[in-house]
């Protein structure tokens, strides 16, 4: 049994006065592997992802990241330390509009009070990793970049402090199919090199199969499918079959 990078133990969540969004979820994500989380909108995927870096606290149960119990962290400084070891990438990119690309990319180093020279060289390295030209972009602002470029910078920024865990919430959801496919290729290469525990929320089974070692499907707050990517095409699980039929449909059209 490989060590768990991220663990959920009997995790439930219901917003104040609301119905149960997640019920009694127990999962262990092996360190250094990529897990894709699929499910309809409202199935609780994003909520589950946000529990890993403590943006959402579960109503019941425990979340652990590399053995540290996230759910018992009350002091802000503990959460700050935890979050610096977790990269976070979202669909809207979340780049700060008033900061240059260089500052956005190295912001985590700025927060960790690293010297300027180190921030610059790290930003140069990261921007190179995601296939962009640092000297051409460093002084630009997010609005001057294309959607794909912004998403690359968002990924570079999440990797700044070399976190052991990477959370990706529909990172390519807003991109056109060609850019999306380029991004997937780039990400796959990067992940093979860096070995991170990745939790990827997506609507796209093909993306999940291409990037992830393991596929989870969430429905009505519960895990209804959990299998290695390699076994997806042979699975008899009705939820998996639903996703497969969508993929097949698309290719036949």
């Amino acid at each position: 049994m490989p060590t768990a990078g991220v663990e959920f133990a009997k995790v439930s969540y219901s917003p104040e006065g609301g119905h149960l969004v997640l019920r009694d979820i127990s999962l262990a994500l092996a360190a250094g592997t990529t897990t894709a989380l699929l499910g309809r909108s409202g199935s609780g995927k994003t909520t589950l992802l946000r529990m890993v870096n403590g943006l959402v606290q579960p109503t019941a149960g425990e979340v652990r990241v590399e053995g540290h119990v996230v759910t018992s962290m009350r002091a802000p400084k503990d959460l700050v330390r935890l979050r610096r070891d977790i990269g976070y990438v979202i669909q809207e990119t979340g780049l700060f509009p008033h900061m240059t690309i260089e500052r956005n990319t190295a912001l985590a180093l700025e927060l960790a009070e690293k010297p300027h020279s180190e921030r610059e060289s790290r930003a140069r390295e990261l921007i190179g990793w995601v296939g962009l030209d640092f000297d051409g972009l460093r002084n630009r602002f997010p609005w001057q970049l294309s959607g794909g470029q912004k998403q690359r910078v968002g990924l570079a920024r999440a990797l700044a402090l070399d976190p052991s865990v990477l959370l990706m919430d529909e990172p390519f959801g807003a991109l056109d199919p060609l850019t999306r496919s380029e991004m997937q290729t780039m990400l796959k290469k990067l992940l093979q090199r860096l070995s991170k525990t990745v939790l990827l929320v997506t609507h796209d089974l093909e993306e999940a199969l291409y990037l992830a070692d393991r596929v989870l499907i969430l429905a009505e707050g519960q895990v209804v499918a959990d299998l290695p990517s390699a076994e997806v095409s042979r699975s008899a699980n009705p939820h998996v079959r639903d996703y497969l039929s969508v993929v097949r449909h698309k290719s036949e059209r």
Binding site: N53, L55, P97, H98, L111
Partner: protein, 210 residues
Amino acid sequence: MIATLQRHGWEIARLTFEHLWLTVIAMLFAILVGIPLGVLLTRRRRWARPVIGFANVIQTVPSLALFGLLLPVPWLGENAARLAIVALIAYALLPILRNTYAGIDSVSPELRRVADAMGMTGWQRLRMVELPIAGSIILAGVRTATVICVGVATIAAAIGAGGLGELIFRGVASVDNGLVLAGAIPAALLALTADAGLGWIEKKLAVRQG
């Protein structure tokens, strides 16, 4: 007009300076109170409505009436300039408060979440993300407040606090239009200059989103 200028030149200069001084002091205090209070309201949302509502009510009190109402207040009534400054602060507070609240509120939840997820402390998020993004909206509030202050400060002369209103009141009393204009024109110029200057800074601070 030329004659009025020759006769009252020094006085106009002195009263313009006095007017400016009243406005600047009041604005400094209004900013020192208004911006932190506006930020606080974004953290304690339940208070936002009553507090902004109260500032709104103050704004509706006619300035002459407010000066009159404050006159019997012990510490305030002793000094006309002090009283005028307090009344000006009360008027300047609403636009600053409202715009600070709205500006910080306009920062998208995604950006706030990303700031938290990067491990920013609450203070870092405010300083590095929320205030810079809200900057031009807050400054627009400061600009509105300044223009209001310059205008209301002319009324301060009614309680003997000085400023350009003194010329206007004297001109009205002695039916001397030249004297009225000698007070009104510099007051208008002050307002226009402040508006243009702060408008320029506001543009510089504007953050392009997207």
